[in-house]
Point group: C2
Chain length 327, copies 2
Amino acid sequence: MAQLVETRLINIMHFQTLIASKAARMVLAAPGKILSDFGLRTAHGAEAGLFSARASYIAGFASAANVLAGERYGIPIVGTMAHSFVQVHDDEMTAFENFARSRPDGVILLIDTYDTEAGARKVVQLAPKLKADGITIRGVRIDSGDLAAMAKKVRDILDAGGLKDVIILVSGGINEDVLETIVAAKAPIDGYGIGVNLDASIDAPSLDCAYKLQEYDGKPRRKLSEGKVTWPGSKQVWRSYGPSGHLSGDILSLENDTQPGDRLIAPVMRAGKRVAPAPTLAQIREHAARELARLPEPLRQLVKADEYPVHISGKLKALAAEMYARR
Amino acid sequence: MAQLVETRLINIMHFQTLIASKAARMVLAAPGKILSDFGLRTAHGAEAGLFSARASYIAGFASAANVLAGERYGIPIVGTMAHSFVQVHDDEMTAFENFARSRPDGVILLIDTYDTEAGARKVVQLAPKLKADGITIRGVRIDSGDLAAMAKKVRDILDAGGLKDVIILVSGGINEDVLETIVAAKAPIDGYGIGVNLDASIDAPSLDCAYKLQEYDGKPRRKLSEGKVTWPGSKQVWRSYGPSGHLSGDILSLENDTQPGDRLIAPVMRAGKRVAPAPTLAQIREHAARELARLPEPLRQLVKADEYPVHISGKLKALAAEMYARR
């Protein structure tokens, strides 16, 4: 039973850390843009979709196309019409109007089912009619083709039609590299729906980490398996910051071996009970934003940076050597 | 609501098809070997772990290290001791003996926590003592180092110690390419525990497929988005077989346009009810084995084969052209 609970906790931490890390890369690549989790369809199960919505929201995403995530966690729900909604209508204009009238709040129209530019012109044509009935079109979405180039054409059509406030969202194949390229090109795109590259973390679908027993009944333990040797004993991590407030390095030590820096590890449970109430999702999200801001610039880039300095304390090295000698 | 149910169904089909496909590649790469799903820890959530156990069992895996999958689906549960179990003991021999006595059925001892060859010698030493109490060691597991080379050394130690019936299982970094290499080298390995490469399908964590509306209210529909054009109308797929019984090609046609071959698509629900009882998991597994045996040899290889021939019928091409003309 303990083993089962342990596996379950590891599984949840592993996956949410993975998705939050992936989402953080996207947030850093597209500052100020509206990012939304569109990935439920291709997540590894409904639970993975739910966790992805939560983890990406923590990392700075604005919303998720996931109703349950909205209900359960209070994450803002974003929804746009499906291509199938357009397709069940005999013409696209009727589909747009029916959609706007049935969901009049924050209307986002999907304009690429047949011809994207023609779709944008229909939005211009429809807007005054809806306006007369008190319905405002919030945005349009493009889900295919050259997104940056098409967004520019659509922006021109919307602006010429007096719809300067209508935002442009895009989706389809978005990842952090695409975001960086599109943002650098200053394409007139306000928001991004991100699917499989977020929820399945396509290029890095797993964290290469594991949890190992290092102390038991007050005694240090150490695994010596080939290529998998671990540092023994119960530990603390000490983090230091540079003059600008950015992280400058960590020291890994035995638990009671005081080192310079701030302690990163604190007890969260004692005797099966939390030592403090759980933080709210909003607090966790603020914490993530603060920590991302404290990352040194090389670690904020998408390309692999120099190693972040992690020093092993002298006493920890000595204990490891001693345990190796008497194995 | 319909949209939610649809997304959920797509999500489940998408993921289980992904994992079953990945598992099938492993089954084809290691004929006759015992393959077990060890991936719960790094699956994208507990549900993904459960679905992975089911999908890999369908594809021909023998078992899963997932108690819930055993309880819910009747999949054989496999379990081996954890490194932490060995580590909480002051010596490895005591850990082995305690484990065997507490779980005397199908005992598999993990021998690589400190020194794998020494671990194998302890198993030889322990076996007669357990035997005297009616406990048989079923196997040993190696989870680190050069698995093929170490298995050979361990096999020699076990054989010399009279333990020819004790099987060798390995785990750690196993995927279908590793399986093919180790099997070709005729390493004395009987079974494989496969984790993250199965449950997270590391190199292909998503199927690039989608579900599109092609007919509504009896009328064909077609999406024309740039790069995402679909074939319109309700369809049938007709499959042909060669003289050896292997698949030779498919024809994609409109639903009522009879073509040579066997029909692949059949209704499973009408008016919200199944038209026939669901097959059992055993039946699904047998079906998968039969279909894998019918794959042409190039498609059974791990490397990308020539395209499997899929022909589009004349009437379907004509409908697509007609709809494009009157868009």
